[in-house]
């Protein structure tokens, strides 16, 4: 049945004489297989050599801190709403006086959990975060023996102050340029913000 003028029959089931006597095809196959002996190996020896992931790889999450080390997450819940696997749960807390160096905003996530067994690493939480707080990284979630161990709390998610996770390669050039701008509240370091506030009061 022909519906268009673009079709072409591609399978020819008639064997020519050379094809009927097996041997040429066998030799050709043998030749190809042997030629591969002298080619570069494509496999890598896994535990010793590791394949490099793309910088945008969607692996284990990280909760970012700002330049001063204060947690960026403001517990707005956008990531939990955006999550199609319903893997994120959180509880918010209110920042007390004297905790400004710990939490960037007045509201923060007192508890933040991602169930790595539910998570499908779709990246929607990263897309949804308006505070530059959650990112997926090119790290792989390690295996565990207990189900409970896959529920990652803030202890595993928040990056360490002295061991930052670089996510700048995931961000667009426009965002990186924006982060260099002066005078944006999103970029201002907290100490600076305090001084400007007290100045405006006085």
């Amino acid at each position: 049945m022909q519906l268009t003028t673009r079709s072409k029959v591609v399978s020819n089931k008639q064997l020519s004489f050379a094809e009927r006597i097996y041997l040429p095809a066998l030799l050709k196959g043998m030749f190809i297989t042997l030629s591969h002996l002298f080619k570069k190996k494509v496999t890598i020896l896994y535990p010793e050599v590791k394949r490099e992931h793309a910088p945008v790889y969607r692996g284990q999450h990280v909760l970012k801190r700002d330049e001063n080390g204060a947690e960026r997450c403001t517990s707005c819940g956008m990531c939990a709403v955006a999550c199609p696997a319903e893997a994120i749960t959180m509880e918010s807390g209110e920042r007390k006086k004297g905790e400004e160096h710990l939490y960037r905003e007045e509201k923060y996530a007192a508890k933040y959990e991602i169930n790595m067994l539910r998570c499908i690493f779709c990246g929607l939480c990263e897309e949804a975060c308006p505070k530059e707080a959650i990112f997926l990284t090119d790290r792989i979630v390690p295996t565990e023996f207990e189900r409970e161990d896959f529920i990652y709390g803030k202890d595993k998610l928040v990056e360490l102050v002295d061991k930052r996770v670089d996510v700048s390669k995931r961000q667009t050039p426009e965002v990186l340029a924006f982060k260099k701008l002066e005078g944006m509240r999103h970029n201002v370091l907290y100490t600076k913000k305090l001084t400007t506030k007290s100045e405006s009061k006085s």
Partner: protein
Amino acid sequence: MSKKSSHIIPPSINSIEKEYSTLNLGPTHPATHGIFQNVLQMDGEIIHDAIPTIGYIHRAFEKLAERRPYAQITPLTDRLNYCSAPINNMGWHMTVEKLIKAEIPKRAEYMRVIIMELARIADHIICNTIIGQDTGATTGFLYLFQYREKIYDIFESICGARLTTNICRIGGFDKEWGKVTWDRIHQFVADFPKALDEFNNLLERNRIFMDRTINCGPITAEKALEYSFTGPNLRAAGVDYDVRVATPYSSYSDFEFIIPVGTSGDTYDRFMVRNEEMKQSLSIIKQALKNMPDGKTHADLPDFFLPPKEKVYSEMEALIYHFKIVMGETDIPKGEVYHSVEGGNGELGFYLISDGGRTPYRLHFRRPCFIYYQAYPEMIKGTMLSDAIITMSSMNVIAGELDA
């Protein structure tokens, strides 16, 4: 005594010479590439009857989709035909774009075409090498499979995942592809023909392979149409139906390519059709790379496409729209759309009814493999068990699409 005997199963109505044995092929069987259960009634090595089990891994995607905002349904489509997830993603995006009547810039459409054709090649690589594998030729499988990895590397550099891609968004791409991605695509286009030729040298005109596959699991064009086959399996039966040509979407009308067809719909035809389609896909990618237009990578859709992050970080209005879109609180028009794309295995359709709410009122996926699997028992009746295995692998029935 007579009472007791009623509990005893009566001796088979068949004579001793004609007793069938029951064989469970699957649910997890190394030769079936997925979770398929087939209860076969065997007459020695010949299949007398087959009863497939449908819905063995029912995941209720349609129901899940009714509770999810539109952007969150994309990860679900990843898991339909997971061998060519990007095509499913794009198909879904295009369905929603059809509903909201979005105009997609040419550049984004061409980029989508490249992605979809790469995914098609990956899908066909799997199918064709697996036919080789199931007929006993593992070598070709190993050589060509490297190129599937390369395609996945390309996907990884774009979206960050290899198999379940969740690539692109409703409205287009959120960022330009990096240099690495373009380099990898050019490299792939340059290298792949050689590898494909090598693979074909091993199998295409090899008499052992031809004897094994010709007349194995054939289906006539009429039967195939009755079952509403689409895609390579229908084309192998000789009907040149291709969604990309019949109802062009996403700029496919700009590209020159031929539709390969077979003659009798047997395994060899399916193999050859897929082989030629890989070459055609490659030519489409080349054309797209050559004629790639400049411009934006996403449509101007403030109501559905997330604003750029730097605006979200600094501007109130962008932040409000960001919240609205993520929560799915933007106004979706009421309506009913059907959109189909040529998936790796055939026409992948999305039937979407929206009542204007946050989530679809009803969504139905037309899964091509679901249809092939209906025809499968009929195709394998009267054949040998080993033929049934390669019939299934040549139809490329993917378990992810069977759960309707």
